[in-house]
Structures are given as structure tokens and as C-alpha cells.
């Protein structure tokens, strides 16, 4: 059963095509890696799937719901850890989770229990009364993982969840993710630039470049397709050696331009 489905998904900013006719699907219970160089269209795709950006054309389905037409139900179906921190750093860890739980309509008594459960899960229960501002990058990330799971979503989106974290914290975060995936059958959709994370954890991979899907399959299949030894080499083979900062800026500029 496919829990995420994207068909001919396209997002244009004036003449710039950020996501170009992208189709893919993710099966329930999978750990799915969505890879691509900077500015390839990863974040734009995630934003469309998670209801905060409207596609120019194409269709999507999240847990059986259309994020455009049935945003409310789609929103209940997923949890997300964004690329940049999205915590309120003036609130405590507990308050951040409580805010989230209330917005997601978790009943009062259950909410208390879940907050304790999730904070224990990411080893932050002792720090629940601390203002988030005082947290390190790794602690904030763990708190965001806890928050994203508080309403027991069917799908968990993680946009570069381990960016800028030390190896210890990265391992920790992955330990949580794997546990969830195994015990609660939560589908994981993640992006990363660390290829070893993909090799270790991903069931299936899609590679996006210049807004188009250029390859898909298991890690082994990608290596086979490109006749390379490692995923890193396969990735570079698929997406080329050029540095993409320029293009990322271009997309950002178009986005800015659209808003004014």
C-alpha cells in the first residue's frame, strides 16, 4: 500500500521550474530517502507534500488525503522535523510539546502521558522545565523529533534531521527513528547529505536533480545502475560534479520575488 503518492508534481516560480513533473510513491512502513544536491527541489517537494506550498500542477496523496483539497486531514497524518529549528525558544521544552499537542487535538489526559513518554524517549524529561533557548543544537533536534511524534502520525518527514550534529547525536537520532519505524510502523521520509546514513537505514531511495527524479530504487540498485562501489559515487555519477549553490540562490530569489 502506498502511503505517499506524487504524480506529475510541478512547482514553477515565474519561468523557473523548481520541481518538474515529479512522480514517486512511498510504501507504508518504509524508510524512504529523498536525495539531491542543494537547490534540486527536495525542500520544495516536502513543502508541497506537507501543505505549506501549493503546487502549480500535479496531484499528491498523503495517507489517502489530498494535501491541497483536504489539508486538515492530511495535516493530522504526518509529523515533521524541518531543516531549520521551528521551536519557540522562549517557551520551555514541555510548553513546546503542549502547544503542539493542543493544536493537534490530543485530549488533555492523554497529552500529559504522551509528553512524558516522548520526553523520556529522547532523554529530555529532566530538562522539561528549561527554556529552549538554553538548549544545544542536538537537544533542540531531539525535542523536535519528540514533538513531531506526539500526535502519533502515520508518516514522519525529516528534512536533513542530522545536519550540523555530532556523530553521537546523529546516532541517537537514528536510533529513535529506527525504533519508531519498527515498533509503530511509522513511515519515514527523510532527506540528508550524509550518504552513509542512507546506506545504513534507507529501504528505498529517490534522487532528484534540477527538479526531476533522475533515479530510484534500493541503495544496491542505484549502485548497480551506475556501476559504482559506494552510494556517494553513485550519487555524484547521477547528479554530476558541479557545485549547486548558484542554483539554490536562484530558486530563493524567485521565491522572494514572488512574495513582493
Amino acid at each position: 500500500m502506498n502511503i505517499i503518492e506524487a504524480k506529475n508534481l510541478t512547482k514553477k516560480y515565474n519561468s523557473l521550474v523548481a520541481v518538474d513533473n515529479v512522480s514517486f510513491s512511498v510504501k507504508k512502513g518504509e524508510i524512504f530517502a529523498f536525495l539531491g544536491p542543494n537547490g534540486a527541489g527536495k525542500s520544495t517537494t516536502i513543502k508541497m507534500l506537507t501543505t505549506v506550498l501549493r503546487p502549480t500542477s500535479g496531484s499528491m496523496e498523503i495517507n489517502g488525503f489530498d494535501p491541497e483539497k483536504d489539508a486538515h486531514e492530511a495535516r493530522k497524518s504526518f509529523g515533521i522535523v524541518f531543516q531549520d529549528s521551528s521551536l519557540d525558544d522562549r517557551l520551555t521544552a514541555y510548553e513546546n510539546l503542549k502547544y503542539h499537542g493542543v493544536l493537534y487535538g490530543v485530549p488533555r489526559d492523554l497529552l500529559k502521558k504522551r509528553i512524558k513518554e516522548m520526553l523520556d524517549f529522547v532523554d529530555l524529561w529532566d530538562r522539561r522545565k528549561d527554556i529552549v533557548k538554553k538548549f544545544s543544537g542536538g537537544m533542540k533536534r531531539r525535542l523536535e523529533v519528540a514533538r513531531g511524534l506526539l500526535h502519533h502520525p502515520a508518516i514522519f518527514f525529516l528534512d536533513e534531521p542530522t545536519l550540523g550534529l555530532d556523530p553521537q547525536t546523529r546516532n541517537y537520532i537514528w536510533k529513535y527513528i529506527k525504533t519508531l519505524n519498527k515498533e509503530k510502523d511509522i513511515t519515514i521520509f527523510f532527506t540528508t547529505h550524509y550518504m552513509e546514513e542512507v546506506e545504513q537505514h534507507a529501504d528505498r531511495v529517490a534522487v532528484i536533480d534540477h527538479g526531476k527524479i533522475v533515479a530510484g530504487g534500493s541503495v544496491d540498485e542505484l549502485k548497480e545502475q551506475t556501476s559504482k562501489e559506494s552510494l556517494e559515487e553513485a550519487f555524484i555519477e547521477l547528479t554530476g560534479r558541479d557545485i549547486r549553490d548558484q542554483e539554490a540562490d536562484g530558486v530563493e530569489q524567485m521565491r522572494q520575488g514572488m512574495r513582493h
Binding site: 513543502k47 501549493r54 493542543v102
Partner: protein
């Protein structure tokens, strides 16, 4: 309802924890009150207009509410820059509820400050003409606060950086404040000032508050209530619409 409540509560907690903001936003109106009140007071009295502190206090209360409520709109830009807006936008809550929660939060903080300014004014010589009217004064404070918090939300929904917001604040807040009759009586001003004041929504807020606190009104309560009520509903609706269009 719980969603609106938690968003309202968040706003109050953020306010309460930001001591610098509390001091800054109460200090400014007090400076105006003391400097203008004692500075122009003798001249005002010589012209036979009575106590200037008495006249000025409702105007300064409204100023404090105007600033705080409008700037609570800044929080949306702030939330956007610090990422928290995304957390709210992916939540299964209607955009209308989000705007109501945010607006009520900003308005509550603004009214709280207005009341503090009122008490401070009482220390330096202001006295409400009738204590029974104070609840009505607080009601009007809320109406003014909601109107401008919603306006701030609408404006902030259209902008994505602080610079733009500052610009609008300077070209909007200052004229709204100075041309509202908050610091001088409108009766004897040249006609063009009176015309501008009559299309300035804040004038009706100042008038209602001066009426309930000191017994003098220019436009009458029903006009004040009608203008503020209708505008609040309209701006709230526009603010919700603009906010619902935000994409990140």
C-alpha cells in the same frame, strides 16, 4: 477553542518572560505622559481647557495600546524568521483560528499595558470621572486593541522582513497617533485636521476612552462603537484572508 486558548497563552507567556519588552513598552507612554503632561499642562490650563493630565491620559493609554497591538503583528514576521510559523502552519488548525488566537493574545497584552498606564497616570494626578465607567473604558480598550492587532497581522502577512514592517510602522503609526486627537482637542483645530481625524479610526477610540474616563466625547459613544466595531470585523476578516495565503 483549545487551539485558540493555547495560542493566546503562548503570547502572554512570551510577553511575561520578556522583561525588557515590558519595561520598554510601558516606559515610552509614561515619558509622553510626564513630558507632555507637565510641559504643556500650564499653557493648556491658562487657555481655560482644564487639567491637561486629565485630557491627555486617555490619549496616552490609547497610544500604548496602539503600539503594542500593532507590534504584536511583528510576531508573525518574527515567527517566520525563526521558523516557528511553520510549526503552526502544518498543524491541523484553521487559519482563522490561528489569527483569532494571535490577535486575542496581542490584544490582551496591549490592554494589560493600557491599564498599567492608567494606574501610573493616577499616581501623577489623573482620576477617572466615574469608577462605574471604568469597565466600559476597558471594553473600548479591547476593541481598539483587537482592531490594531488584526491590522498588524494583516500587514505582517504581506511582508517577510523587519525592514518593511518598520517602514510601514513609521508611515502609519505616527500619523495615526498624532492625528487622532490623542494629545490635543480637535474642536478648535483647522478644518483639514478635523477631516483627517474623522477618517482616522483611532480618533474614535480616543474619543470613546476619553468619554468613559473623563466624561467628554466629541463623536458620541454610539458612533465610536459603530466605527470601531465595523472596522474591527472588516480588518479581522482581511487579516485572516491574508494570513491564510501565507506559504513558506
Amino acid at each position: 477553542m483549545r487551539a485558540i486558548y493555547i495560542m493566546w497563552l503562548r503570547q502572554l507567556k512570551r510577553y511575561y518572560r520578556s522583561k525588557a519588552r515590558i519595561v520598554g513598552s510601558i516606559g515610552q507612554p509614561l515619558l509622553f505622559l510626564v513630558a507632555l503632561g507637565f510641559g504643556f499642562g500650564p499653557t493648556f490650563e491658562k487657555a481655560g481647557q482644564g487639567s491637561y493630565i486629565q485630557f491627555l491620559t486617555p490619549g496616552i493609554i490609547v497610544m500604548s495600546i496602539l503600539f503594542t497591538a500593532l507590534f504584536s503583528g511583528i510576531e508573525i514576521i518574527w515567527d517566520r524568521q525563526f521558523g516557528f510559523l511553520k510549526e503552526t502552519l502544518v498543524a491541523p488548525v484553521s487559519r482563522f483560528e490561528i489569527v483569532i488566537g494571535k490577535t486575542l493574545g496581542g490584544a490582551t497584552v496591549a490592554v494589560f499595558q493600557g491599564i498599567i498606564v492608567m494606574f501610573a497616570a493616577m499616581i501623577i494626578g489623573f482620576s477617572p470621572v466615574s469608577l462605574g465607567m471604568v469597565p466600559f473604558a476597558i471594553f473600548f480598550m479591547f476593541l481598539i486593541a483587537i482592531l490594531f492587532a488584526a491590522l498588524g497581522t494583516a500587514i505582517a502577512s504581506l511582508l517577510d522582513d523587519m525592514q518593511g514592517f518598520q517602514l510601514i510602522m513609521n508611515f502609519l503609526v505616527m500619523p495615526i497617533f498624532f492625528l487622532s486627537g490623542a494629545i490635543f482637542p480637535l474642536e478648535d483645530t483647522p478644518e483639514f485636521i478635523q477631516v483627517i481625524a474623522s477618517i482616522n479610526p483611532l480618533s474614535y477610540g480616543v474619543d470613546a476612552l476619553r468619554g468613559t474616563l473623563t466624561g467628554i466625547t466629541l463623536y458620541g459613544y454610539s458612533t465610536d462603537l459603530l466605527v470601531l466595531g465595523v472596522l474591527t470585523a472588516v480588518v479581522w476578516a482581511i487579516g485572516s484572508y491574508l494570513f491564510s495565503r501565507i506559504q513558506v
